[in-house]
């Protein structure tokens, strides 16, 4: 039901957008004869409800159409670009969790003191600083000045297509192929975009962790534990175990945000992923791309919500 609503909404918004997909195909200089022929080929000369009916029929049979920008079926394109984003977002999430959660705990433990202020400031900056700007600054400092990271793209030119594509994720494929030069090169290229993409999730997770931890640290069982002489670390660990359930939900939803929110990071770092693909489709008025990507994002969020529910039930026996 949600997906049907999403498809209908996106379709009709797409059709009233003042962007002409025919121009994207034939260009500004095509004459009227060509323009009309291509418009008819795309079915754009039919009434809107008829176009929608055809669209629904096609997606029901798994036909999501062809992308203007590539000439390939949209599903094939998504299979090609999605692993790049999945790899980037997964690494960003891991970074976000590994740094954001401890920072949130530290902020809660030292509430009102230096670490807390630092983490809150970091959270504010992580939310506020645009990825686009941060990416360019990072390229200037870490790529151009210090030579610590690779530049644009997933690997250096010398390593393009050197490992067979099995999963589409270059780190995984190079590891499977035991080509450690490519693996190292891929790591050099993914490190900074992943770190920058992770800033938002780090900020978000540190703030949420702090908030959850503060709630737990104010509970009576924590006071009891302290009175009984449990060490500071023991108390923190005890409280942390009790925030695992809401934290998992937050982490899973943050993952969804990373998957569809990598557009600007992908643009700055020339990362050929899902975000760039969707943006190009949008700018060209390519509704097959926009509709399919929107539906996919919807499916991802639904799946992640489902996963979050399952994990909730697994981790918290009271909800079973």
């Amino acid at each position: 039901m949600t997906l049907a609503g999403l498809a209908a909404l996106t379709f009709f918004i797409g059709r009233v957008m003042p962007v002409d997909p025919v121009i994207a195909i034939v260009g500004e200089q095509a004459d009227q004869e060509t323009y009309r022929a291509v418009r008819a080929q795309l079915g754009l000369d039919r009434p809107l409800p008829v176009q929608f009916a055809y669209y629904v029929r096609d997606i029901a049979t798994g036909n999501f159409g062809t992308a203007i920008a590539t000439g390939h079926p949209v599903i094939e394109d998504i299979r090609r670009v999605f692993p790049a984003t999945l790899e980037l977002a997964t690494l960003a999430l891991l970074t976000g969790v590994l740094l954001g959660v401890p920072l949130g705990i530290a902020a809660a433990v030292w509430r009102g003191r230096g670490p807390d202020h630092a983490v809150r400031l970091f959270g504010l900056v992580g939310y506020s600083v645009p990825h686009f700007w941060l990416g360019l600054i990072a390229l200037v400092v870490f790529y151009a000045r210090l030579h610590w990271i690779g530049g644009s793209g997933r690997v250096s030119v010398a390593n393009v297509d050197l490992v067979p594509s099995v999963t589409g994720m270059i780190l995984v494929d190079s590891a499977l192929d035991r080509n450690w030069d490519v693996f190292r090169d891929a790591l050099r290229h993914i490190a900074m975009p992943a770190l920058i993409l992770a800033t938002t999730s780090m900020a978000y997770l540190s703030r949420m962790t702090r908030s959850f931890m503060l709630e737990q640290l104010g509970q009576e069982y924590v006071t009891t534990a302290r009175i009984k002489g449990l060490s500071g670390f023991g108390v923190t660990w005890h409280a942390f175990r009790n925030i695992a359930v809401p934290l998992v939900t937050v982490v899973v939803l943050a993952y969804g945000g990373l998957l569809d929110g990598a557009v600007l990071t992908e643009t700055v770092f020339g990362w050929p992923g899902f975000g760039q693909y969707l943006t190009s489709g949008l700018l060209a008025g390519d509704m097959n791309v926009v509709l399919t990507c929107t539906l996919l994002v919807g499916v991802i969020f639904l799946a992640l919500n489902l996963l979050s529910d399952v994990l909730y039930r697994t981790l918290d026996p009271r909800t079973r």
Binding site: P18, V19, D20, P21, I23, A24, I25, V26, G27, E28, Q29, A30, D31, Q32, E33, T34, Y35, A37, V38, I68, A69, T70, G71, H72, R80, V81, R113, G114, P115, H117, A118, L136, L139, V140, F142, Y143, A144, L146, H147, W148, I149, G151, S152, G153, S156, V157, A158, D161, R184, R188, A191, M192, T267, V268, G270, P272, Q276, S280, L283, G285
Partner: protein
Amino acid sequence: MQQRISAWLAAATAAFLVPLSTAQAKTPPDTFVVAANMSQMITLDPAAINESFTAGFMRNVCDALIGFDEKDPSKLAPGIAESWTVSPDSTTYTLRIRGGLRFPSGNPVSAEDIAWSMKRNLKLNLANAQRLREWDITKDNVDSVVQVVDAQTLRIKPTRPWAPNLFLFAFTDFRVAPALDRREILKNEAAGDLGNKWLATHSACVGPFRVATWRPQDVMILDRNDGYWRRKVAMKRVVVRHVPEAGAQRLMLEQGDIDFADNIDPADFQALEKNPRVHISYTPSLGVSYMMFNMNDPRFRSPKLFEAFRYLFDYHGLESTLLRNHSIARESVVPNGVFGALPESYKPYKLDLERAKRLIAEAGYPDGFSAEIAVLNSFPYPDLAQHLQANAEKVGVHLKITQMIGAQLYQRARARKFELYMAGYGFNYPDANNIFLRFAYNPDNSPTSKDTISVAWRAGWDPGASFNDAIRAAQVERDQAKRQAIYEDLQKRFNATSPIIPLFQRLSVNAVGADVTAFRHTLTGDDYSSIEKR
């Protein structure tokens, strides 16, 4: 405490990144690495390529039937056709196809392939069918116009006695009459598409390179065509990476990770000029910027109004500041370097607010007026529009700027739904005929006209029979001096009456690494076959 935490964070970042660090990069000596925004590249099929980036790039893969002289692009040179003759009455062109050429598949190139490609272009009726139709070669007459005499001889019998020097320009664009490997293409035909889908991602031409890999919006790899007929090509491979961000391209060039950055931000030119690791050069292109009034709006019909706006631009101030090394002022509709152009010294306009105000009053607006100007949202158009807006305000004209992406703006132009309009335009070949056909020829100014490609039609400008007739007369004028004189006269008449105001001619900026010792740029694109590296 906070200092300690900061130190720990810095150390953590370094620990994460330092192990990955390497020395400064250098591209392989036999590989030319390009960074470009490839978003526009949507197909490699010559019949369907509709924009200048892909066309310029694919000129390195598909040779045209006729080439340009390398020193003077307004002159013709042999291409796939090694020679040609024209009958005295200009109605029969006989082209000798170069012998011994082979497609990457090994199939020999023949006159039949070229004739088939032209027919295919018209049958598919995609973006470039009109490039044949504008020479009156249509789907209905192509069989009689284009004839195969034998395997190496092609005869073209146009329906009009075009000026020979003009008509042959039609074949300098590989999209008009490419040598396509019909046998290979037909093997990959799907549902009667004449290989359109397959050619969208493959190449089947003769040129200095062939497409080895293309992943849209990711990477394109060209491999050298060994034994290329024109010259020995030094680069074994050309790799083009999709880098949409201009700042990232600049950094990659400075680091030596690429040899050529295609989209450097004009604001970076000055800094790059001082960098010894980078060479920058500038060559004129066939791209222009212009603005126009919509004469379908009854408020905008006075030539005095159009003349007034010609005095609202500080052409030379902009050329030396905002547009430095990006564009040059060009106050004629025909760009420099094109046959028929008025000399570069032709500069009749300059910023003159008093004169503009007087002309606007004479046009019937003593108190000025308000209007919306639709502007392409990429550099330099919003800046130019702001410049115009500021000057117009001083003479009582209130302009509201509305920025749009190309697909949105061009739709408005085709539908004549704008008041004022500002954008760019790329011409196809360096002859004034191409410019006048697009910007002035408009025999049917009615809303039902089929010639929506005409910018004059989009502006609702009926130039009149004498203007249209002069353009048609120049097309069949065999005497080049007389043809030049017709075009010079038309340029002056254009400025006196047209609602279309030419502004600037775009420069092609070539930012290459210091290791590149030879790289030829032409009016129509970059020639990768000319590249040499240290």
